[in-house]
């Protein structure tokens, strides 16, 4: 019962459309390299790939303004990259190098970048939600027209943290954009084994929050929905919940035998891949040629190679600095 692949006109100028495509490609190529580097032992720890879900980060993050905040999960490479964290510093982070966006201390699950208001990467499922509510509260109390976008998986919605956070946001009408990436599984647990209410928008609406459900494999649909939702939040309408229906093509992490889903299901979903379906639409509209696609792909790959070189050339934080930043310098005991 998987829907047909996303189709239909792309309501954007060519350049804008290609930028969306380029972002998705950059995520894809970067992560493919990460998987390879993981195999080589260059990247370690937990690595959660976003492959298959790129349309969500590409379409949603681009709907935000520079002054907006982002709070993400351990599956946040795409969000970080689209938000403007350099691929160099992301890759260096995964390599554990001091030039990484978190100084090599965080790794894949903990990408931070104050410069683009990326408040992390959080490896506790649901852990970012209350923080996002607080960021929104701070914005409201300081009269800043800032949206705080919080990404989380559908699995996180079973956590008490979700309930407490969305209730608080709705009660206080805070400018939070709840971005649920419903990829149908939480590790190996399918949505209908995790939530008694599988219509996640119904669940969110029960808090009195506006909602939208959208095909997360269609970067156009994602972008439109995120823009509409962000506009509503910015206009003071209180929090907004968007369910992006998506799918991860890879294992949950590098330690997953994928016993819980059929290969055929994955194959079916791959027909709905965000990259090739969007490319096809652009080609059909004459906004993209195969050469142009290859050029974009080449650029993405080149960026990845540069990032790997940057990461390889990076330095290790000196062991003497182990205790640096446990406290702020002014607050250091």
């Amino acid at each position: 019962m998987i829907a047909p692949p996303p189709a239909g006109p792309v309501p954007y100028e060519k350049d804008y459309a290609l930028a969306l495509l380029a972002d998705m490609l950059r995520i894809r190529r970067m992560e493919e390299k990460c998987a390879q580097a993981y195999g080589e032992g260059k990247i370690r720890g937990f690595l959660h790939l976003y492959i298959g879900e790129e349309a969500v980060a590409a379409g949603a993050v681009r709907a935000l303004k520079p002054e907006d905040n982002i709070v993400a999960t351990y599956r946040e490479h795409g969000h970080a990259l689209v938000r403007g964290v350099t691929m160099n510093s992301i890759m260096a982070e995964m390599y554990g190098k001091r030039e990484g966006c978190s100084r090599g201390r965080g790794g894949s699950m903990h990408l931070f970048d104050a410069g683009v208001r990326l408040y992390g990467g959080n490896a506790i499922v649901g852990g970012g939600l209350p923080v996002a509510v607080g960021l929104a509260l701070a914005a409201r109390m300081q009269d800043e027209a800032r949206v705080t976008a919080c990404f989380f998986g559908e699995g996180a919605m079973a956590e008490g943290a979700f309930h407490e956070s969305i209730n608080l946001a709705a009660l206080w009408r805070l400018p939070v954009l709840f971005c649920c990436e419903n990829n149908l599984y939480a590790m190996g647990t399918a949505l209908d084994r995790s939530e008694s209410q599988t219509d996640l928008c119904v669940k969110a609406a029960s808090y009195g929050v506006q909602t939208l459900k959208v095909d997360g494999q269609d970067v156009v649909a994602v972008h439109e929905a995120a823009q509409e939702a962000a506009r509503a939040v910015r206009a003071g309408g209180g929090p907004f919940f968007v369910e992006f229906q998506t799918y991860r093509f890879r294992a949950h992490s590098m330690f997953d035998a994928e016993l819980y889903r059929a290969k055929s299901e994955v194959e079916e979903w791959k027909k709905r891949g965000p990259l090739h379906t969007f490319s096809a639409r652009l080609k059909a509209e004459g906004k993209l040629t195969e050469e142009a696609f290859l050029a974009l792909d080449h650029e993405a790959n080149a960026e990845v190679e540069r990032a790997v070189a940057f990461a390889e050339a990076g330095s290790w934080e000196p062991v003497e600095d182990l205790l640096l930043d446990v406290h702020s310098p002014e607050g250091r005991p």
């Binding site: 209350p130 960021l135 914005a139 407490e164 607050g331």
Partner: protein, 324 residues
């Protein structure tokens, strides 16, 4: 110099903080309309309005996390978790978010958050409402933990806690709220050092928070009996002022640690460990501790009394380490 209750001292500090910095706000269950479960925040809603004195829903994890976010976002929140008992529900946010943020982000983000909570037993409110988890909090890198035990300290320690760029937790023993003390206009306390509350020479009694009055009462009894005990109030539970502890122990050569936490894994154990690591050769006798019995604190008064440290137990422990 005025005399005021610990409760009033804390309220004064809160009022000064709210008046002095528009980024400061107060948030927690029933801090506003109800006036605070221990009446500490009474009147502040009327004075500062509902934007700055925020009643929250019953959702400890959520509003503590929101405090973290608000701190990250440029505010200076003071979050009241009604009591340490309920803070277990928020512990994930305190440990995994507040405490780790700065280091994990490579030093990019600080969380200038103050969390206040009442702690301790002694009012017959039974097992679920009588915990002391100061030891747990005092073991978490990235946060500071304070335990003002006097009205003066209650007034004094909030401002530097708010000025600190990192998360600070303030424990207020519920039995202290009605105690009275002198409070000077100028600030006396910092958030780095322990305080000698009673100088002495024969034994160092190390304690903090709600056990301080008990330790002082015991010292008085001991004095009448010819034992000159020094009473040290840790005041800051993390980072511990080890230098002051060691100085006192080196002088007295014997020590008893008094801590309302359950004996096993108590903060007292950490104090003892530091002493034995660093001042072993200065000791003339085994160290001892007076802690709570390892039992859920019972409701019945006589059982609760028996479960908690009491002056008589402190006196006995001191006499034991003195070989008397």
């Amino acid at each position: 110099m005025t005399t005021m209750s610990y409760r009033e001292a804390m309220r004064t500090a809160l009022r000064e903080a709210l008046a002095g910095d528009p980024r400061v706000f107060l948030m927690g269950e029933d801090v506003g309309r109800y006036g605070g479960t221990y009446a500490v925040t009474k009147g502040l809603l009327e004075e500062f309005g509902p934007e700055r004195v925020r009643d929250t829903p019953l959702s400890e994890l959520g509003f503590v996390g929101a405090g973290i976010g608000a701190a990250l976002g440029g505010m200076r929140p003071i979050v009241e978790v009604m009591t340490v008992n309920f803070s277990l529900l928020a512990l994930d946010q305190i440990v995994n978010t507040a405490a780790l943020y700065r280091h994990m982000s490579g030093g990019q983000f600080s969380v200038p958050l103050v969390i206040r909570m009442a702690t301790g037993a002694g009012r017959q409110i039974a097992a679920q409402h009588s915990h002391s988890f100061e030891n747990w909090y005092a073991s978490i890198p990235g946060i500071k933990v304070l335990a003002p035990a006097t009205a003066q300290d209650a007034r004094d320690m909030l401002a530097p806690a708010l000025a600190d760029p990192d998360p600070v937790i303030i424990f207020e023993h519920a039995q202290l709220y009605n105690t009275e003390g002198e409070v000077t206009a100028e600030r006396q306390a910092d958030i780095r050092t322990a305080a000698v509350r009673r100088p002495g020479t024969m034994v160092s009694v190390v304690t903090y928070g709600g056990s301080l009055p008990k330790a002082l009462a015991a010292a008085d009894q001991l004095a009448a009996d010819g034992v000159d005990a020094e009473v040290l109030d840790l005041r800051v539970l993390r980072p511990l002022d080890t230098a002051t502890i060691l100085a006192s122990v080196r002088k007295c050569r014997r020590a008893v640690v008094v801590d309302e936490g359950w004996r096993t894994g108590s903060l007292a154990a950490e104090i003892m460990a530091r002493i034995v690591e660093q001042a072993f050769y200065d000791l003339d006798a085994p160290l001892a501790r007076v802690c709570s019995a390892e039992v859920p604190i019972p409701y019945a008064r006589h059982l609760e009394d028996a479960a908690l440290p009491q002056p008589a137990g402190i006196v006995a422990a001191v006499n034991a380490v003195l070989g008397r």
